[in-house]
Amino acid sequence: MKKFLLNRDFILFVIICIGLISVGFANPLFITPSSISDVLTDTSILIILALSQMIVILIRAIDLSVASNLALSGMLISLLSTVHPELPVYYFIALSCIIGTILGVLNGVSIAILKVPFIVTTLGTMSIYRGLIYFVSDGKQVYSSEFSENFLALIHFKFLSLSFLFWIAVAVFIIIYILLNHTRFGRNLYSLGGNPDAAKYIGINENKYIILAYSISGLFAGLCGYLWVARYSVASTQIAIGFELTVISACVVGGISVMGGVGTVLGCLLGALLIGLIRNALPAVDISQFWQLAISGAIILLAIIINTKTEQRKEKTVMVQE
C-alpha cells in the first residue's frame, strides 16, 4: 500500500486533482463539465505527441522535429484540400499520416544509418521541415474558408459530449499502452534504452528500432498535422512553433527518463494532462502571460528534481545484528 502511494504516477494524479480543485476555487467556471471537456480537447494533440515522443525518449533519443513535421504534413494536406475539395476526409487523414511517417523515417535513417547524432539530426530536420512549408505554400496561409466541408467533417463529431480529438487521443493511448507493455517490440524498446550494450548481446537490432521509433513518432506527428489544421481551421508556416518543447516537457513531467528505458505510458499521459491543465488554468485564474511561461518552466524543473530524487538508488543495507 505504501509502495502504491509513493508510486510516481499516483503522486502525479494527486497533483492534477489538487490543481484542478484549487483552480476550481479561484474560478468555479473552470471545473464545469463543458469547460473540462474543452481542456481535454485542447490537450488531446499534446497527449498524442507526448505518447509518441515517449517511444523515442525510451531509446535515449529525442525527436525535436515533431512540431515542424506536424506543420508540414498539415500544410500539404490543406493545400491538397484547396485543389481537390471533393476528396473524403479519410483520404486526408491517411495522407497526413503517410507524409509524417516518411519524414520520421528520414530522421531514423539519418540517425541509424548515417550516424548523425539524434540531436543534430532532429534539430536540422526541425528547420528543414519548417522551411519546406514556406517553399510549398509560398509563405501564404490556408484560411478556414478555404477548407472543404469534407475536410472538416469529422472534427465536430462528438460522442458522450466529448470531442473527436479526445477520442483519438484515447485510442492512441490504448494502442501505445498495448504496444509498449504487451508486445515484444515495446519491451525491446525498454531494454534498448535501459542498456544498449546488453541489448546488442541479446540480438536486438538497434538500427531497426531507431528507425521504427522515429517512424512512429513521425506517423503520429502526421496524424496531429491533420488534427491541428482541422481543429483551428488554419494552416500556416507558424502553426505549432515551439510545440516540440511542450511535448518533451510533458514526457519529462510524466517521468519518462531522458536517460532511457524508464517511464510508464500512464505517467506520460498524466504528464501531458498536467501540462495541458497548467496551460489552460493559468489564463483562467488571470495570471499574466509572462508569468505563465515562467510558471510552466518552474513546474518542469520541479518535476525533474522529483525524478532525480525518486530515481536515486536505494542505499544497500547491511544487516547489523542488534
Binding site: H182, Y190, S191, N195, A198, K316, V318, M319, V320, Q321
Partner: protein, 493 residues
C-alpha cells in the same frame, strides 16, 4: 566434440587479437579459458557470441560448421554468455530479464506475462534462489544477478554457457552456491566455458583448460595433468617468483585510530587502529560493511556516530577533500565508475587530485604535470604509449595503476585500498603487491579491503574480520589460519 574452433584469427586495426587459435570444448564438461588481461579471451568469447566476426577460421558446433553472424544467431545455436560487465536491465524485473529477447507470447501475439512469471518462479525455486520474480534488477545483490543470468541461459535452453569471471565479486558462501549450480548444469549435459583469474577455483571446478597468451594458443589439456604453478607459467610466459613480495618492515607507532563508528543499518561498534608502516587487512563477505566503513572514514557518507584520531589528534572529516588534506585517501573498488575518467588522458587522470599544486595563480603548469605523471609512470610501470592517450584505452591493470598514481600524487600517509587487485591479471596483481610493499617501506600505512584470502595472508600484518556490519575479530596474520578467518567471516565462530 561439442564445439570446435579451428585456426581462428582476428585483427583490430593491425593488432593481432587472436592468431590461429584452436579451441575444443567437450560435451558435459567445464572448460577453463585462461590468460592475462589482453590475452584474447574476451575476443574469443565475443566471436562465440556473434559480436565479432573472425577474419579467418571455422567454427564447428556438434560437428556442423556454423557462421555466427550476430548475437541472435549465437543464442539460437544454444550459446549463452554470462558477462563480466553488467548485461542486465536494471530497470526491468527479474522475470523480464530472464525472458529478454525471447518473451513468451499468447496466440494473439501479445506478451504472456502470467506464464513468464510462473516459469520464472518455478525456475528460481528449482535453483533454490530467494529472489522474487517481480523485483527490479537494480534492487538485487551481485550474486543474485548472477543467478538471474544463469536462469536466463537455462530458459534459452543453452547448450554452452560461457561464464566470464562469475565469482569476481562474490563472497565465499555465494561462490560455493554458484559452484553447485555450475556442477548441476554440467550434470544436465551442458558444457561450460569458465573464465577466471582465480586459479584455485579453476583447479577445483574445471575439467579442462586452455591458456591463451598474446592472442595465441599456449596450452590446452586436462586440469588433472597440471598444477597451479604450471598454469601461472603458461599465462605469464615466465616464472613468476614470489607472488606476494612482502617486505619485512619494522612497524612503528599507532598513527590512525577509528573509535566507535556507527551508521544505522550499515555498521556498529567499529573501532580499530592502524600503525605506521603497517598493512591492515579487512576481510569479510561482500556486503559485510567493509566498503561502507571506508566510505564513511573518507567523508563520502556520514557516520551517525564515531571519532577519528590521526597522529593523536582528533580530526573531523566531513567531505573527501578534508580527508585528502589530512593525507588520507581512498581507492574505490569500482574503478571504472569512480576511479578512472575514461575520456581524459592518462596524464590528466594522474594529476587530477593535485590541480592546486600543479598551478601557479590558477594557471596550470604543464611541465609540473608532465613531471609528476612521468615519475608515477616510471614508479608503477604504467604501459602508456603517449601522454594524451585516453585512460579508457588502457588495460584493466594499467587503469588500476593510473588510479593509484592519481592518489599517490597527493602524497598520502594513510592509503585505503578497496579490492585493489579485483579482476586484474596475475602479473599486474603482483606489480600492485610489490608496490604496496615499497609504499609501506617509504613510511606509508595501508588499509586493504580484500576478498581474496591468499592476498590478505600474503600482504597484511593484521587482519580485521567482519561479519554483518560488526568487527568480529582482529587477528595477527602470523598466527591466523585461512580456515579460522573464513569461519569467523561467515559467522560460524
Amino acid at each position: 566434440m561439442k564445439l570446435e574452433l579451428k585456426n581462428i584469427s582476428k585483427n583490430f586495426h593491425g593488432v593481432k587479437a587472436l592468431q590461429n587459435v584452436d579451441f575444443q570444448l567437450k560435451g558435459n564438461s567445464i572448460h577453463a579459458l585462461l590468460g592475462e588481461n589482453g590475452a584474447g579471451k574476451s575476443t574469443l568469447v565475443k566471436i562465440l557470441c556473434g559480436v565479432y566476426q573472425p577474419d579467418s577460421g571455422t567454427i564447428n558446433l556438434n560437428n556442423k560448421q556454423q557462421i555466427i553472424s550476430d548475437p541472435a544467431v549465437s543464442l539460437s545455436l544454444g550459446i549463452s554468455a554470462i558477462h563480466q560487465e553488467s548485461v542486465m536491465f536494471d530497470e526491468l524485473t527479474v522475470t523480464e530479464n530472464i525472458f529478454i529477447g525471447n518473451h513468451l507470447t499468447k496466440s494473439n501475439g501479445l506478451i504472456h506475462w502470467n506464464l513468464m512469471y510462473e516459469k520464472t518462479k518455478q525456475l528460481l525455486d528449482d535453483l533454490e534462489a530467494n529472489i522474487e520474480p517481480n523485483e527490479k534488477i537494480k534492487d538485487l545483490s551481485i550474486a543474485q544477478r548472477h543467478i538471474v543470468q544463469i536462469s536466463r541461459s537455462l530458459i534459452h535452453d543453452a547448450d554452452i554457457v560461457i561464464m566470464d569471471e562469475p565469482t569476481a565479486a562474490l563472497s565465499q558462501k555465494e561462490i560455493n552456491e554458484l559452484y553447485t549450480i555450475i556442477r548441476n548444469l554440467k550434470n544436465q549435459d551442458k558444457s561450460i566455458i569458465f573464465i577466471s583469474h582465480k586459479l584455485d577455483e579453476v583447479m577445483e571446478v574445471c575439467d579442462d583448460f586452455t591458456v591463451l597468451r598474446d592472442g595465441q594458443l599456449i596450452k590446452s589439456d586436462k586440469i588433472s595433468n597440471t598444477n597451479k604453478d604450471q598454469l601461472i607459467t603458461h599465462m605469464a610466459g615466465r616464472e613468476v617468483g614470489q607472488i606476494f613480495p612482502k617486505n619485512h618492515i619494522k612497524i612503528e607507532n599507532e598513527i590512525f585510530q577509528v573509535r566507535n563508528f556507527y551508521k544505522k543499518t550499515q555498521f556498529k561498534n567499529i573501532s580499530f587502529n592502524l600503525r605506521k608502516k603497517e598493512i591492515l587487512g579487512f576481510y569479510g563477505l561482500v556486503g559485510s560493511g567493509r566498503t561502507e566503513i571506508m566510505k564513511s572514514i573518507f567523508g563520502i557518507t556520514k557516520p551517525d556516530e564515531g571519532e577519528i584520531f590521526f597522529k593523536d589528534k582528533k580530526i573531523s572529516i566531513l567531505k573527501p577533500s578534508d580527508a585528502i588534506n589530512q593525507g588520507i585517501v581512498y581507492l574505490s573498488e569500482e574503478r571504472q565508475q569512480l576511479g578512472i575518467t575514461g575520456l581524459m588522458s592518462v596524464k590528466d587522470n594522474i594529476n587530477m587530485a593535485i590541480i592546486d599544486k600543479n598551478s601557479n595563480f590558477y594557471i596550470m603548469d604543464n611541465l609540473k604535470e608532465v613531471k609528476n605523471a612521468a615519475s608515477m609512470q616510471e614508479k608503477l610501470n604504467i604501459k602508456v604509449s603517449y601522454w594524451s592517450q585516453l585512460a579508457q584505452s588502457l588495460s584493466g591493470g594499467n587503469q588500476q595503476k593510473t588510479v593509484i598514481s592519481k592518489w599517490l600524487s597527493t602524497k598520502p600517509e594513510v592509503l585505503i585500498l578497496d579490492e585493489p587487485t579485483k579482476g586484474i591479471d596475475v602479473r599486474s596483481k603482483s606489480a600492485v603487491h610489490q608496490f604496496m610493499g615499497e609504499l609501506v617501506g617509504e613510511g606509508m600505512s595501508i588499509i586493504m579491503i580484500s576478498s581474496e584470502l591468499p592476498e590478505i595472508l600474503g600482504m597484511c600484518d593484521r587482519v580485521v574480520v567482519m561479519y554483518r556490519g560488526l568487527i568480529k575479530k582482529v587477528l595477527d596474520v602470523k598466527d591466523a589460519s585461512s580456515e579460522q578467518i573464513v569461519k569467523i567471516a561467515s559467522g560460524e565462530e
